[in-house]
């Protein structure tokens, strides 16, 4: 009956069958001898990580595997080598690869802790300015002058708010580092 089980990676008949319980969920992996060796599954200490990587590559959303992070040029194959991502944007780029990994890795898949309110507010204000600038330019172009006047006033307010917030951090940055 052993022949009925195929290696999850290459499809040859599987001889290594692993069951691991992580966070109360059962995970089964079947591998042929060669793939088990290659993935380091025979080493019990290295198995957890191997499992994570396997799960990632077994994910049907293989489309992400060919892509490259537009921000930093990171490729999924780099993750297999390094076990770390290239930049914060990678988590968006490789979402399909990240989410199955998280199931086994953590207690949950959504953040419920501290939130950097100041940093987020600062970024939101800057984004708001950019958005309003675009809208104002469009309104002028299409001769919607009433809209333009309203957008101009909003833009003045938004710029003021953004520069106050930026001034705080710029002021902080202008202070020389002590050593």
């Amino acid at each position: 009956m052993a022949s009925s089980l195929k290696c999850d990676l290459c499809g040859k008949s599987a001889t290594v069958h692993l069951t691991q319980i992580v966070n109360g969920k059962m995970h089964k992996v079947d591998l042929c001898e060669a793939c088990a060796q290659a993935k380091g599954v025979t080493d019990p200490g290295g198995f957890s990580l191997a499992d994570l990587l396997l799960k990632a590559s077994l994910n049907p959303e293989e489309t992400t595997l060919g892509t490259e992070c537009p921000t930093c040029g990171f490729k999924p194959s780099d993750f297999k080598k390094l076990g770390r991502f290239g930049c914060p944007q990678c988590y968006r780029t490789f979402e399909g690869m990240v989410s199955p990994m998280l199931d086994n890795m953590h207690k949950g898949t959504r953040h419920v802790g501290k939130v950097p309110h100041q940093a987020i507010e600062r970024r939101t204000l800057i984004e708001r300015v950019t958005e309003l600038e675009g809208a104002l330019a469009a309104a002028i172009k299409t001769e919607r002058y009433e809209d333009a006047a309203r957008l101009r006033d909003e833009l003045v307010q938004a710029r003021l708010a953004a520069s106050t917030s930026a001034a705080q951090s710029a002021g902080a940055r202008a202070t020389p580092a002590r050593s």
């Binding site: 921000t71 930093c72 990171f74 780099d78 390094l82 076990g83 770390r84 991502f85 290239g86 930049c87 914060p88 988590y91 990240v98 990994m101 998280l102 890795m105 953590h106 207690k107 949950g108 898949t109 959504r110 953040h111 419920v112 802790g113 501290k114 939130v115 950097p116 309110h117 100041q118 940093a119 987020i120 600062r122 970024r123 705080q168 951090s169 902080a172 940055r173 202070t175 020389p176 580092a177 002590r178 050593s179």
Partner: protein, 361 residues
């Protein structure tokens, strides 16, 4: 402040007499943070790493809790200084080996250290002697909040703080306690404890983190997961696991005393004899002997005042600290001789263990 002055001044770990807790030597919390719009240090071009280093050093220099701290690029430190910082748990081995763009900011009392461009742009750490999860959290939380006012952290509403390794996503927080568990080691229960602790989602490591041995029966216990639970919930869970390990250790001590007190006292008495008379002492032997001595203090065989000494020597018996006390460079056997000299001198005035307390009962 200069690094040389910092290393010579009193530190939380080496000069605190406040560690009253018998089992927990120290508590640490670290937060992993990254700047939005920059590649993580391991995937970064050198110039970008340098730019991140500058930004972070400036922000930290301006943060009130880090006033008058040491604030230097790692490249300005000598190998020995780096080794001492590793031995004091203020920087990691990884940062000490970094070539470009690594930086380090440490406050005066050495309770707070920030590594720049280690695995993440920022690794903020607070370290407290004794069992102090709450105190450590409130200190690190306020520094982190202040830094967030000056730096744009990489954050995602669903994934939390974005980190180079997905195992740190979410809170980016690793809280740990350094625990002295000699009775669990002597009674061969550590393996069982490690397994139980793992099942509760916590990790057990040796004294210097991953892959290090547990000489001196000292173990680090920390949370494994960072996503899906708030900081407070993680700390609460860790706190209760630590509490139950403390209870197990104390029970194991009672059992050892009941079953064969002579055997235990023999170990402690011999440790005292060696510490007082040795002329060659390796750091791992020193750790094991000091560990037995600390157990002796917990059992009331030595006066409570001896505790500060053993806790300081746990750090000062490390190779870098021994070398720093010498005038010229030593090889390892010269270090063993100097370590023995120092410890012999320190123990000359320590009174013999008083076993009478236990013999009566």
């Amino acid at each position: 402040m200069k690094i040389s002055a910092l290393l010579a001044s009193p530190s939380e770990l080496t000069d605190t007499a406040s560690s009253k807790c018998a089992v927990v030597l120290m508590t640490r919390i670290r937060l992993a943070r990254n700047l939005a719009g920059h590649s993580f240090p391991g995937w970064c071009k050198e110039a970008q790493r340098e730019a991140v280093l500058e930004r972070c050093r400036e922000a930290l220099g301006a943060a009130a809790p880090m006033k008058r701290s040491v604030n230097v690029p790692v490249s300005e430190l000598t190998e020995l200084q780096k080794q001492i910082l590793v031995e004091r748990h203020l920087i990691s081995r990884e940062l000490s080996g970094s070539k470009h763009g690594g930086g380090l900011v440490i406050n005066r009392d050495q309770t707070c250290s920030v590594m720049i461009n280690e695995e993440d742009h920022l690794r903020i750490q607070v370290l407290r002697a004794g069992f102090q999860l709450k105190k450590a959290w409130s200190q690190i939380d306020s520094l982190d909040t202040e830094l967030e006012g000056r730096l744009d952290y990489a954050f995602d509403p669903a994934l939390g703080y974005l980190t180079a390794c997905p195992t740190n996503l979410g809170t980016g927080m690793r809280a740990s306690a350094m625990m002295h568990l000699p009775a669990l080691v002597i009674s061969s229960q550590m393996e069982k404890v490690v397994r139980a602790v793992n099942q509760l989602g916590m990790v057990v490591r040796g004294l210097f983190g991953e892959g290090s041995d547990a000489s001196g029966s000292i173990f680090q216990i920390s949370n494994q997961t960072t996503l899906g639970e708030s900081e407070e919930a993680i700390l609460k869970r860790l706190g209760s696991v630590l509490q139950s390990i403390i209870e197990h250790e104390l029970n194991a001590r009672e059992k050892l005393l009941e079953a064969d007190a002579a055997k235990l006292f023999d170990k402690i008495g011999r440790a005292y004899g060696i510490l007082q008379n040795c002329h060659q002492l390796s750091s791992s032997e020193a750790m094991n002997l000091l560990s037995l001595l600390r157990l002796g203090i917990d059992l009331g065989l030595f006066p409570e005042t001896t505790r500060a000494l053993t806790d300081r020597l746990f750090i000062e018996a490390q190779p870098g600290h021994v070398q720093a006390a010498a005038r010229n460079e030593l090889d390892s056997s010269q270090r063993d001789a100097l370590r023995a000299d120092n410890i012999r001198t320190e123990f000359a005035a320590i009174a013999r263990p008083d076993f009478s307390l236990h013999q009566k009962s």
